[in-house]
């Protein structure tokens, strides 16, 4: 069993990777003061809500303790577990994030 809150854990937060917004997708009425000059990478790392994070962390911890999540979110949790075990920051792709959100909203 792996304790996901152990000191070696580099993060107890999940992040979501989303593609950066091309300049050409700016909207006419918006201000976008900072983004214009920001050097954005290929992705934006966004942080979902605390409650969602708690749900993911609890589910991940359960998985690491041998409790399988529902089939719909198993791949997403396995991907996170892989990040965690490798000591990497835990980053979700959009598809995994959406499946976890669906489960999260159903569970509430």
């Amino acid at each position: 069993m792996v304790d996901i809150l152990a000191p070696k854990m580099i993060s107890t937060r999940v992040w979501v990777e989303i593609p950066k917004i091309p300049k050409k997708e700016w909207v006419r009425y918006l201000v976008l003061i900072d983004w214009h000059h920001e050097k954005l990478g290929d992705i934006i790392k966004a942080q979902p809500s605390e409650k969602f994070n708690e749900f993911v962390m609890t589910t991940l911890q359960g998985y690491l303790e041998g409790k399988m999540p529902s089939a719909a979110i198993t791949p997403a949790i396995m991907n996170l577990a892989e990040d965690h075990i490798a000591g990497r920051e835990m980053i979700l792709r959009a598809g995994d994030y959406l499946s976890l959100q669906k489960e999260f909203k159903t569970a509430r």
Binding site: V16, I18, I21, E25, V27, V31, I33, L98, K102
Partner: protein
């Protein structure tokens, strides 16, 4: 769950339709507050939905958003979620006290409207002295080191002011100047002398091109919108309307649009009936941009060589002009092609 995997990164939020001006060019016909505008509690609940939707920026607009008494409460709630907040204002009530409040609320930046030199601006606003007040507001932003964009809605009444406006803004110290062609909606329809024709669209585009090409390092930097893309040829292709793809608009009564510049009837539901998440990820929502196919291109755009890139341009301009999407008349590329360039 739909296979749609995009998020409303940029959210325009009409806090109130209440306004202290009755501008002739106002696409929202702002003046009185809408019936049943969101309560403070509803607004806070909405703010709390944004992190899971991965919202990256909220732009508070109106009406005049700063007339809403709880704007600071809303802005501070968003700041708690680490979401940058910008405010779009007409500048009339900006004074030192309000600057302090903006700083206290952690506002990331301001957008302020300047719609011509003094005569044109005051006439458009129907308010003598409003031009002077904008200049005072700019001075206050500069003194307080608050980042801001000046936003000019270009119309027939101010198109000849642009060069002098650039000189003025250079003197003021403005870093960024956003130019957007007028969209013929709202109160504009009652003012027949404002809408741009193809010749004015070309004039505007060539002004921007001239300024960008010849004054690369001169402030203010000009930022183009929508149909003004294509002005600088080497730029990446314009990918068309982002409404419902990466942007979303919330009306002050809780109805949801892809873009606040769209007419009110083009809404996808209300956050009073469903969560913003459910509206955003509803497979039926925002069909005009999400389910585009080339057959939908209107006569203006269907034979254009750029149509595969911009998908028929600005939805708002297209819909307000013709009642259909993908048929944008306010396009510099088209205007220039028509003139044989």
């Amino acid at each position: 769950m739909s296979s749609f995997e995009d998020f409303p990164f940029i959210l325009g939020w009409e806090l109130t339709l209440l306004c202290n001006f009755r501008c002739r060019h106002c696409g929202s016909s702002a003046g009185l507050a809408r019936r049943g505008e969101l309560t403070t509690g509803e607004a806070i609940t909405l703010c709390d939905q944004f992190p899971d939707l991965l919202v990256q920026e909220v732009d508070l607009t109106g009406g005049e958003p700063l007339l809403r008494k709880d704007w600071m409460v809303i802005a501070q709630r968003l700041a708690r979620h680490s979401i940058p907040v910008n405010v779009l204002t007409n500048g009339l009530i900006i004074d030192k006290d309000l600057i302090a409040q903006l700083q206290q609320a952690g506002i990331a930046g301001m957008g302020i409207s300047l719609d011509g030199l003094e005569t044109a601006h005051d006439r458009t606003r129907n308010y003598p002295g409003s031009y002077r007040q904008v200049l005072r507001a700019l001075d206050l932003f500069e003194a307080a080191d608050i980042p801001y964009n000046v936003i000019t809605t270009v119309n027939k009444q101010n198109i000849n002011d642009l060069e002098q406006m650039h000189e003025l803004l250079e003197k003021v110290g403005t870093d960024r100047w956003r130019l957007q062609p007028l969209i013929p909606m709202g109160r504009v329809k009652e003012s027949g002398d404002l809408a741009l024709g193809s010749s004015e669209m070309r004039m505007l585009g060539h002004f921007v091109r001239h300024m960008i090409m010849t004054k690369k390092n001169v402030k203010p930097e000009i930022i183009c919108s929508d149909g003004l893309d294509y002005v600088v040829p080497e730029e990446l292709p314009w990918r068309g309307c982002p409404a419902g793809i990466s942007s979303c608009g919330i009306m002050s009564d809780g109805r949801v649009k892809g873009c606040l510049s769209l007419p009110d009837e083009v809404c996808e539901g209300s956050i009073r009936q469903r969560s913003l998440w459910d509206i955003w990820f509803d497979p039926q929502s925002f069909a005009y941009t999400r389910n585009f196919s080339p057959e939908q291109l209107g006569p203006i755009c269907k034979n254009c060589e750029k149509s595969a890139e911009c998908l028929g341009g600005c939805s708002s301009s297209s819909y307000t002009s013709f009642g259909k999407f993908h048929n944008d008349p306010a396009c510099f590329f088209r205007a220039d092609q028509m003139a044989g360039n």
